[in-house]
Amino acid sequence: MKLNRRTFLKVSAGTTGLILLNKPKKSSASDTPNKSGKAVLVDTSKCVGCWWCYAACKHAHNLPETIRPDKEHPPELDSNILTTLSTMKNGDEWLYAKRQCMHCEYPACVTACPVGALQKTPEGPVIYDSSKCFGCRYCMVVCPFGVPDFEWEDPTPWICKCDFCTDRLAAGLEPACVDACTTGALKLGNREELIAEARERIAAEPGKYIDHIYGEKEAGGTSWLYLSTIPLEKIGFPSLESKPVTLDAERAMGAVPPVLLGVAAAMSSIFWLVKRRNQMSQEKPGDKKEGRK
């Protein structure tokens, strides 16, 4: 469907070419797709819903700790919950899928943020710098995974989201949730290698997993990758196309300089032409003209 739109665009470029003059420009984030960056492979078949990732995350980020959530009513992500589980009863067994920032390869939040408070680092994490933020919440609206959250009850509110434990990564440690995982459902590694490993796991046990790595292609790819026994869309993950969600907006933004110059030039020439035509047609004295200096 979206490809059809693209085709339509090319067809209509002649008449409505305002935003089509430029090829899509890549944002600073998407200049260097994260080939060697860090990623985490989530094997949902290994998750038993112990919520240790949830507890470890709260501890690592100094967030108010709570009792272990109920699998029947798992909490949504919010300003105090940077990772949670989506749960679903499938026959007799419970299925769990960890939710947190996906750390996209082409992050919508990074393109959207007007003040550059969100950045994709070469190491993989999408990080947030509150010293630049002014609280417009555009990142929350554009995120295709619905991740960034806001401190609504605070008079000085900030955006909150998983930071991939950037400081722990820099110190050579695993993220708190990966470190805490009791069953090996989470594995930190290099993104390319983890995708290869995921394929091996799918091939090694035919019929166990669905033949899809969620996050390999979704919205242009993410740094968190999921192996699962059922499509994750059934457990509340969004169903996304493989093109980055930032493409159309970046193309439109690329058209800004030519449109600026073009409209300025067009308006100046129209003004000059109209004025000249009027002068030619009515060379009468005393007829005061607008705009003559």
Binding site: N4, P155, A249, M267
Partner: protein, 388 residues
């Protein structure tokens, strides 16, 4: 020049109360946070203020650049009498946008961050820059009226200042100012559409299209003259002077062409991507689509194509109201009603959200009333020009 002084005190009293209530809510918000006065949530991070104050406010301010462009660039002198009211309305519209942002932003005291921290890839960065520069341009475009008013003033210090000097400076750069206004408006109106291009997965297919920025610009150009008809009709009713029907019908005559182009682009786009059927099948969103198209596009095209309608003041006025309502529905559709954001969240504005928006509009109406009383709005330029 003096308006009927007794026609308004009750109105101004009500407006003042609304402003005070809005202000009280804003103070409450700064103490207790956004959560205390709004129904916004993580799943619905943008609400009434963005849809109404930003999206509708900017579009309804389009009368400023369309009329300034028509009069000063295309030299359509007929419309000179409505340029100043149009520019004043646009300036107030943009002021309202900024004031609403000062409520909506989590950290309004850091609004200046956009001047030092640039992300040129962000549509919202473009929006912010355009709001900033265009508000300044509008203030300068309107300033001659203020200087003219001050030069007539009897206030102690003010009357000794030579107001003709700044007046002449602004008049000298008037054409560059108007051109800058048209350029900034073109970018700004379209950039509000670009902002939505970041949401291909959550904005409904009936509205999402890569040509959204162009549709936004065209609909703003169409609603500009309608807004000028609307507010000049109202102000002439309140202040008692008559506007030439020629001006109204002239504005009404161009609107069908612009709306026609808008409708054509919308339908062609939907046809080209094979989604035209959605206007019948995508219930209930298709009702919203038909609402904005019938009320704001099709009916006004038909009405304004009839010369009887164009010669009738109240028919012109009410048709313009239809266009404005249609545009408001459209902007609410794309920024709220047809925008999914996160599943499972319901949003209806808190009464205090309404109080803020209503208070800001009341604010603007008060300023318009004051301006009409004390500044040469309707009878522009003649006074000072005669003295030079």
């Amino acid at each position: 020049m003096m308006p009927k002084k007794h026609s308004f005190p009750v109105g101004t009293f009500i407006l003042s109360i609304l402003v005070v209530v809005g202000l009280a809510v804003v103070i409450y918000r700064y103490i207790y946070g956004l959560g205390a006065i709004s129904n916004l949530s993580d799943g619905r991070a943008w609400g009434l203020w963005i849809s109404f104050d930003l999206y509708c406010g900017v579009a309804l301010a389009a009368g400023g650049f369309t009329l300034a462009g028509a009069v000063y660039i295309f030299n359509l002198k007929k419309y000179r009498s409505v340029v100043r009211p149009a520019i004043l309305t646009a300036f107030l519209g943009y002021t309202l946008v900024i004031l609403a942002l000062l409520v909506d932003l989590g950290h309004p005291w850091y609004i200046w961050h956009i001047i030092i921290n640039w992300n040129v890839h962000s549509p919202l960065f473009e929006v912010g820059m355009c709001v900033m520069f265009y508000t300044a341009v509008l203030a300068l475009e309107f300033s001659p009226a203020v200087f003219e008013g001050l030069s007539k003033s009897n206030l102690p210090v003010v009357r000794h200042i030579n107001w003709h000097f700044p007046w002449r400076v602004i008049r000298a750069i008037q054409i560059p100012l108007v051109i800058a206004g048209v350029v900034l408006s073109t970018l700004h109106q379209s950039s509000l559409g670009s902002m939505l291009l970041m949401m291909p997965e959550t904005l409904h297919e009936l509205w999402y299209t890569p040509i959204l920025p162009i549709l936004f610009l065209i609909s703003a150009v169409a609603v500009g003259p309608a807004m000028v008809i609307f507010e000049s009709t109202l102000s002439t009713r309140v202040f008692g002077h008559k506007l030439d029907i020629d001006v109204l019908s002239g504005l009404a005559r161009v609107i069908p062409y612009i709306l026609g182009l808008y409708l054509l682009l919308k339908v062609i786009e939907l046809t080209a991507v094979g989604e035209l059927g959605l206007i019948f099948t995508a219930y209930p969103q298709n009702l919203l689509w038909w609402g904005e198209i019938i009320i704001g596009v099709i009916v006004p095209i038909i009405l304004f194509s009839m010369s009887d309608v164009r010669q009738n003041r109240s028919a012109v006025f009410w048709t313009s109201v239809l266009i404005i309502i249609g545009l408001v529905i459209n902007r609410f559709n794309v920024s709220m009603l047809a925008l999914g954001m996160r599943p499972g969240y319901f949003y209806f504005p808190h009464w205090m959200e309404f109080a803020v928006s209503v208070g800001l509009v009341a604010d603007a109406l008060l300023v318009i009333w004051l301006a009409h009383r004390f500044l040469p709005i309707a009878h522009q330029e003649q006074i000072v020009e005669a003295e030079i």
